[in-house]
């Protein structure tokens, strides 16, 4: 069964450093998403991406964040200068349909720890 994969599973970084979180969506999916979950808090939408463009982004997704689909398989989230409050679990999701009411498939997440 096809699944979304994410690497690394755990990333530890120093405050102010850049991190890149990687995702490989399901191969025939065209719609991609990033979410984050701060420990003990709810899952929060960050950004949606389609046709090499950001479709939607939340207030959390400020200038420190960027997304990219550098090749035909990877979907990345970059945080330019990490802050302590960026520590969270980051989930990538993909879908073959445009609407959020259609099923999104989530990856297992990357736990980012900013020291």
């Amino acid at each position: 069964e096809p699944e979304v994969t994410q690497t690394p599973s755990h990333q530890v970084t120093q405050m102010g450093q850049e991190v890149i979180l990687r995702c490989v969506p399901i191969s025939n999916h065209l719609y991609f998403y990033w979410y984050r979950q701060i420990l003990g808090q709810k899952v929060e939408f960050l950004v949606s991406f389609y046709n090499n463009e950001i479709s939607e982004k939340s207030e959390i997704f400020d200038d420190q964040f960027s997304v990219e689909r550098p090749d035909g398989s990877n979907f990345t989230l970059k945080i330019r200068s990490t802050k302590l409050e960026d520590s969270a679990m980051y989930f990538c999701a993909s879908s073959d349909k445009a609407t959020l009411s259609d099923e999104q498939f989530f990856g297992p997440g990357t736990r980012l720890t900013v020291l």
Partner: protein, 114 residues
Amino acid sequence: QQQVKQSPQSLIVQKGGISIINCAYENTAFDYFPWYQQFPGKGPALLIAIRPDVSEKKEGRFTISFNKSAKQFSLHIMDSQPGDSATYFCAAIQTQGGSEKLVFGKGTKLTVNP
């Protein structure tokens, strides 16, 4: 107004019992309500979903009850099994009126004891 409030935070149920998780929302523009199940080390996976034009949806042992007037919805797991032990998230989506928004609850950690 964009929040979805979920309770309880954790729930322990004996095998064979009924697990009930509740969610409440304020934004009447929400028009789709999915539940996600997450096992440790995995991402959330869609479990069951409901639209507000029905009061109940059942899939196997999982039932969503929806009370539009009270702006509440709940997940019932009948005959709970140890394999149901997971974290459950309710969510709400506003699909109309421009950009879609997906809002999650904080999650409920369910433990089903054998």
